[in-house]
Structures are given as C-alpha cells and as structure tokens.
Amino acid sequence: MIDIGAAALDGFLLLFSAKALLYLMLGIFAGMFFGLVPGLSGLTGLGLLLPFAIGQPPDVAFAFLLGMFAVTTQTDTIPAVLIGVPGTAAANATYLDGFPMAKRGEAGRALSASYFANILGTLVSTVIFILFLPVLRALIDEFGAPEYFVMALLGLVMAGSLAGRSLLRGLAMAAFGLLVSTVGFAQNTGFPRFDIGGWTYLWDGLPLVPLVLGMFAVPEVIDLLLRRGTIARASMRAEGGVAAGFLDNMRHWWLLFRCSVIGTVCGMIPGLGGLVAEWLGYGHAVNSAKDKSMFGKGDVRGVIAAESATSAQKPGSVLPTVAFGIPGNAAMAVMLGVFFIVGLRPGPEMMHEKLDLTFLMVWIVVVANLIAAGLCLGLQRWMILICFIRPTVLAPLILAFMVVGASLATTHVGDVVVFAAFGAFGYLCRRADWPRVPFIIGMVLGQLAEIYLFISVERYGFAFTYTRPIVILIELLIFAALAMPLYRRFLGSPARFAREAE
C-alpha cells in the first residue's frame, strides 16, 4: 500500500508542472466549449485536440486531452437546464428534472446541484479506484499473453454487445476495427498488408487522428449544419442557489454514493459509457425513491443521480484501460491510442513502474472537474451565449480545424483521404444506427491483440485456449457477454412484458 500512496502523490505532483497545468487549463476551456454546444461532444473535442497533444510528453498530453474530456459533462448541463437542450447526449436525464426546476425559478440550484454531484461523483469513483488497485495489481501479475488476448476479446465482445441495439452490428464493427488495425507493416513479419497496390502512406498503418476525427466529429458537424437554425431560442436566468445545490447533495448523500458506484461500474465495462451510466443512475433514483411523484417535474434527486453517475464513470473507465488495455469507452480507446503514440503500454508497467502516470490520469479528471465547476458557477450566465452562435458561423470553423487537425498526423495528403473516407463511413453508420464505439475500440485494441495472439500461438499453439484456467474463465465470460443480449431478446423481454402487463 505504501508504494500506491507514493505513486498517488507523485502522480498528483506531476500535474503541477507549469506545462501540464497550462495544457490542463487549455483542455478545460476547450472541453467546456464542446460540452456547451449542443451537437458537439467530448469525442468531437478529443478528435480535434488529439493532433496538438501528439509530440508532447505523456503527462502534458494526458492533462490536455483528459482535462478536456472530463469537463464536457459539467457544461453540458448548462444548456440542458437553461434552454432545455442537452449539450451532449449524457445530459438527457439531467434535462428531465433540471429544465422543470429552471422553469420554476430554481435554475441556479439545479446547476449548482449538478456541479457538486459531478465533483462528489468523481471523488467517490476515485476512492473506489484506489481500493480496487491492489486487487488488480495482484491479478495482473498472473497474466501472460494468452490471458491478455482473451481479455482483449472480452472487451471487444462487451463493447460490441453493449454499445448499440444490435449484437451483430456491434460485433461486426468491432471486427472491422480489428481488421483496419492490420493495415500496414505486420509487427511480427515486417510485411506490408492491405497497402492497396503499394501505397507507401499505408505502410505505417492508418493514423488514428484523421480516423477518429472522421468517424466521430464529421457526423456531429454534418448534423449541426443540417439543423440549420440556432438551437437556442431563449434562456432562463441562473442566479443564486449555490449553497442550496450543495446542501441538496449533502441531504441526498446516500443516493449520490449509490449512483456514483453505478457510474464507476459502468465506466469499467467496455461499451457502456456516460449515456448508460446516466440513465442507470437516474433509473435507480426513481426506483429507489419512496415518493416518485416529482421525478420529471423538477426533482433535484434526478439531477444529482444522473450527474454523479455520469461523472463517476470517467475515473472508472481508466482502470481497465491501464490494467488490461481494454478501454471502457470510445474516449479511453483514443487515450489508449495516445498511450502507444507516447510509447506507453497498458498492463503491468502501468500498474507498477508507471503507477504515478495511472494516478495522474485520475487526478486530472478530479482536478479538471473542480476547476470547471468553479468556472461554471462564475461564468454560466455568459457561457450560455455560445449556444446562440449560428451553425453557419460555427460549423465552417470547426470543419476547417478538423481538416487541419487531420493533416497534422503525418502531414501527408493521405490524411485528408482517410479523414474524408472515414467521415463518410461514420456519417453512414450514424444514419443507419451502426455503433461506432466498438469500431474504434477494435482498431486500437487490434494492435495489442495481434501481438498477444501471435505470441500465444507461437508459444503454446492453439492449446492455450483450453489449458489455462484464467483463459477458460475469461472465455466463459465472453460466452456470457454474447449470450446476454440473446437472453434478453428471446427470454428476458417476454418475461418483462408479462410482468408489465400484469
């Protein structure tokens, strides 16, 4: 435990270098913007800022990107409460009670409750993270290449089965991500693969930046443009209520704690992410309340539950990413890509020698949330004005920076081709409801999974799949993850409908 404490302190101190702090603040301001503007999201921001983080040392890159991503769920509440339009999909449940509170003249209280729920949710999740760490460290020491390979498969199957409404589409997208990761020189043979007739640009593989920008940012910006008009019509006023919001959190501390645990667990399970965490938290608040009459009409418990669960999933998602290389959500998949770019490998190294960096990631989320909450409390009445900017002003600027950002990966014209091709593919996927998260998780995980599969086959042959106990256990979990959606479809739903009908 002593080395964990020392690593936690080292990680905390890493954040306070001048450069890391500067980048953290830049990331926070960018994240506040991306959370505020309905139609954009943390992933859009992550794609846009990614090129500027490449080339920086790990602490600076993490401060910039994670700082940005951590605070989008703080500011997305502001438009949800004040103008009735959630800034990101992760604020939909907050809107249900926050907007009615604003209409009742309690906008300040709703926003304050949401900011404090975010901070406290993150803190609870951090404590859970620290408690889990010794268990994971012991477990990870038992892992070899076969275990890591099947663990990667488990992450992919879970992401595929949970990220969308269709198991087959989720699995197909995860497999497509794996396939895309094989473009370029094979790591074990040095032979170029899928280089489309010797196009040398592809020999280093498809670069992550234009791909992420295309898949996630382009569809959002197209939708922003297609909507045409400004999203905001009129805004409520948000004054006062700071103390009331804080006291609401204290009064409902047990609910806040339970929802934070739900959020943390959602963060650890690949494919769930903030949206599911928020609705599970909100659903739990409604189901566990004695008096449900005010939910949806302006009950502060709805705001607290949704926000604490959403914020808690972020530190939670760090754990599987650093320990097993399995990203809890798409943002963590991108962060995993950053790991490789800055020369880090998830696994034992991040749990032992580089534990301070692991802690740094968690501290960034905590500190960014604290700073963002303070900024939001002071600036929210002006920040909401960003929502009134016309898409015809905002979208061309974002598009311009996207195409520039995409080209910063290798400054080759091929970056623009990859950006355009995956932008079109991402938009079609969005229109056709094919989940994009498993694709990006598959693409990033593919690099690791291929090495682990190759080592496992070389060392043990295919017998590794049935001779190693941990592998067998994880394989059983994979089958369970595959069977769960089928069970829900064929057995769970009729049973539930029957109950509801009664």
Binding site: S166, F191, F194, G229, L397, V404, A432, F454
Partner: protein, 153 residues
C-alpha cells in the same frame, strides 16, 4: 424486400465484401502475417452474414433521418448543399493546400450561407493567421502545399 431499401442492410453487405477481400488477399501471406487478418476477417464475415440473412428474413429497422431545428425533416436541397460543401472542402485541400483552401472555404461557406461579408472575411483572415503564424510559425508544422500550388511553384 424492405431490407434492400435500407442503408443499414447495405452497410452490412459492404462490410461483408471487405471481409471477403481481406480473407482472400491474406491467404497468400505467411501464417504470422495472415493469422490476425483472418481472425478478424472471419469474425466480421460471420457477423455481417448473420445481419444480412436476418435482415432479409425479418426486415431491418428504418434508418435515422436527421432533423431540422424545428424537429421536422431536413429539406433535400439543403442536405445536398451541405454534402456538396463538405466534398468541396476535401477536394480543395489536396489541390490548393491547407493555407489557401481552408480560409477560402471558411469565407465562401459563410458568405454563401447568408453571413455578413465582413464577418466571413474576418473569420477567414483569423483562420489564415492561425495556420500561418501559430501552426507554421510557432509549432513548425509543415502543412502540405497542394497539387496546384506545387505546380505553380
């Protein structure tokens, strides 16, 4: 055959073709080279085969249509116009290079879509200043020049 009119179903078919191509191409490589492409290719093929067959048998959910601000459908003409602008941007950049194409796009898009000329020009100038002074000057990024710019020397 409702599935044949569904974008979702056709994405499945397209991915199936990609999987088949990958499997066939990879079959010529050594075991180390083809092991993972085959693994992911066969997984992809199995998933999209299931999706395609089930789609034909049971139908596919309707595609998600984008909505305008008022909640109504987006006019077809506006939709095509937006797609056209995006295509123009990705064509202009390789031709003219970032330094010319990106500010030009910002100005043209804003001016053509009813924004005031001074605002369009100001934001295009700000974009150019960012690219030239910050990215090229301070960060020392060597942005690609573009085919036409290179040809003109």
């Amino acid at each position: 055959m409702a599935a044949l009119r569904s974008l979702s179903w056709w994405i499945g078919v397209g991915l199936g073709c990609v999987a088949l191509y990958a499997i066939v191409v990879a079959s010529e490589w050594s075991l180390g080279g083809r092991l993972f492409p085959w693994f992911s290719g066969f997984l992809l093929l199995a998933a999209v085969a299931g999706h395609t067959v089930l789609g034909l048998a049971r139908g596919v959910e309707t595609d998600i249509e984008p909505e305008a601000t008022d909640g109504g459908p987006v006019p077809r003409a506006w939709r095509l116009k937006v797609y056209g602008w995006l295509i123009l941007l990705v064509v202009l950049v390789p031709l003219l290079g970032h330094l010319v194409a990106v500010p030009l796009f910002v100005f043209a898009f804003m001016a053509a879509n009813g924004e005031r000329l001074w605002l369009s020009a100001a934001l295009a100038a700000a974009t150019l200043a960012f690219l030239h002074f910050v990215l090229e000057g301070i960060v020392h990024v060597d942005l690609p020049r573009g085919l036409v710019t290179a040809w003109l020397g």
